[in-house]
């Protein structure tokens, strides 16, 4: 078994234009920064990106938007990104907005081997257009389908050479469910250790879901809203 890659460039080398990618993170928290930089450098385009947000103008998926690498964005919240809004309003970018819980569960369903599920989110709204509605115990639910993605790209705090992952704090967010959902899953981690060094009880994502892993470098971990209080 060898899942370990040297760096992001090697881990993403076979990602091609036109593919569908899942990218972990919530806002700028828990983003696979190294892989995003490598995708920008590689210059692949016509990508469909599934991610909760679209980054900000100069960070996260915003960097790929600047280079017009994204054909379609599937997300729940896309504010705080002027370039995104410009491309959307000018028709250069296709966008599918998905309720956040539905987005997460569509990833989870893929990782659980379930093709579809029912959720009440979006009943009676634009989101329901064209979807089957079924009633259970007097309440209406929409049929939503599992995502399919060529690659899932996630960020974890610690990982081992078998691909077992541990996330830190709220940087966990979408990363575990996306890790489960890719045809090929790439994990970048802050600390890569030999198999056996992580406590089995503490693993969040079992390595069976992770095909490639590398230790990232120079994490910027940008803060979107720096809020603090004063010491008394």
């Amino acid at each position: 078994m060898n899942k370990v890659y040297n760096n992001a460039d090697e881990a993403i080398s076979d990602i091609e234009s036109g593919m569908t990618l899942m990218l972990g993170g919530f806002g700028l928290c828990g983003l696979p920064e190294n892989c995003i930089a490598a995708l920008v450098k590689k210059g692949v385009n016509n990508l469909t990106c599934i991610s909760n947000n679209a980054g900000v103008d100069d960070f996260g998926i915003g960097l790929m938007l600047q280079k017009r690498q994204v054909k379609k964005m599937i997300a729940s919240y896309v504010g705080e990104n002027a370039e995104f809004e410009r491309q959307l309003l000018s028709g250069e970018l296709e966008v599918e907005l998905v309720p956040q819980g539905t987005l997460a569960t569509r990833c989870m369903a893929a990782g659980y081997g379930m093709p579809a599920f029912f959720t009440p989110a979006g009943v009676g709204t634009e989101v329901a257009a064209g979807k089957e509605v079924r009633e259970f115990d007097g309440k209406k639910y929409l049929l939503e389908h599992a995502f399919k993605a060529d690659f899932a790209i996630v960020k974890a705090w610690k990982g081992d050479t078998h691909g077992n992952l541990i996330y830190k704090e709220t940087a966990r967010n979408f990363n575990p469910v996306m890790a489960m959902a890719g045809n090929i899953t790439i994990a970048e981690v802050e600390h890569l250790v030999p198999a056996g060094e992580l406590e089995p009880d503490m693993i969040h994502t079992p390595g069976i879901y992770v095909h490639r892993i590398f230790q990232g470098k120079q994490y910027e971990k940008r803060i979107e809203q720096r809020t603090t209080r004063k010491r008394n």
């Binding site: 819980g101 009676g124 705090w157 704090e169 990363n175 469910v177």
Partner: protein, 218 residues
């Protein structure tokens, strides 16, 4: 005096009960955390994967890996727990969250809420709002009664794209506290120095006045 945003939050905080798990939306709802009554313990849920949101960190102690759903740096409290986004919405969908407080652009007198899109003007997305309103049993909306042009935002029918149908049961605006019943908005508490006539004039949707109408005490 019409209520300030802080006072709206303060009034909503009085609805909190010991042991509640609470999801607070962005904007006025977030302020509710500042007015949790003494002597009760509530746990704040952040849909990006945190139960037990603490106060903002001290300057210099911000942690990029620890944010709330508004992307603000926060801290944990004793008893906090982290989890992934699917589990987060699992607990929301399963009705485990006792109270959801969120903002709105428009509300109908049947409890429909519009909060995520202004066609042609604003395309930000619904985030977790559709999931929250579809499943929460106890939703309080915190909002301004009128828009900048002075037009009512408590309507017969929402004009903006809907976030959820017939889901809101209570709303607090700068003018008062309203239940949403089969007869529309029911004014149950009125803000200090606001008249019933003013509330009537500023409410486009069906409005009734509670027989037990009270002056709001903060």
């Amino acid at each position: 005096m019409a209520l300030t945003k802080e006072q709206i939050a303060q009034r909503i905080a009085k609805e909190l009960q010991d042991g509640y798990y609470v999801n607070l939306g962005i904007g006025i709802p977030t302020l509710v955390a500042n007015y949790i009554p003494e002597g009760i313990e509530v746990v704040l849920q952040s849909e990006n994967g945190l139960l037990g949101i603490g106060p903002f960190p001290f300057e210099g102690e911000e942690d990029a890996d620890l944010i709330n759903a508004g992307k603000q740096t926060v801290t944990t409290v004793k008893g906090s727990a982290f989890f992934d986004s699917a589990l987060s919405f699992g607990m929301i969908r399963a009705g485990k969250v006792n109270l959801t407080v969120l903002g709105a652009m428009e509300l109908s007198d049947r409890g429909d809420i519009a909060s995520w899109k202004i066609p042609g003007k604003m395309v930000k997305g619904m985030g977790g709002a559709m999931d929250l309103v579809a499943s929460a049993k106890n939703i309080i909306v915190a909002m301004q009664h009128t828009n900048k042009a002075g037009e009512s935002k408590l309507l017969k029918e929402c004009t903006l794209p809907i976030t959820g149908l017939a889901c809101v049961k209570k709303v607090v605006t700068e003018l008062g506290f309203f239940n949403i019943t089969e007869n529309g908005f029911e004014l149950v508490e009125i803000a200090p120095d606001i008249t019933v006539e003013e509330v009537k004039a500023k409410t486009e949707g069906r409005l009734t006045i509670s027989q037990n109408l009270k002056k709001m005490i903060l």
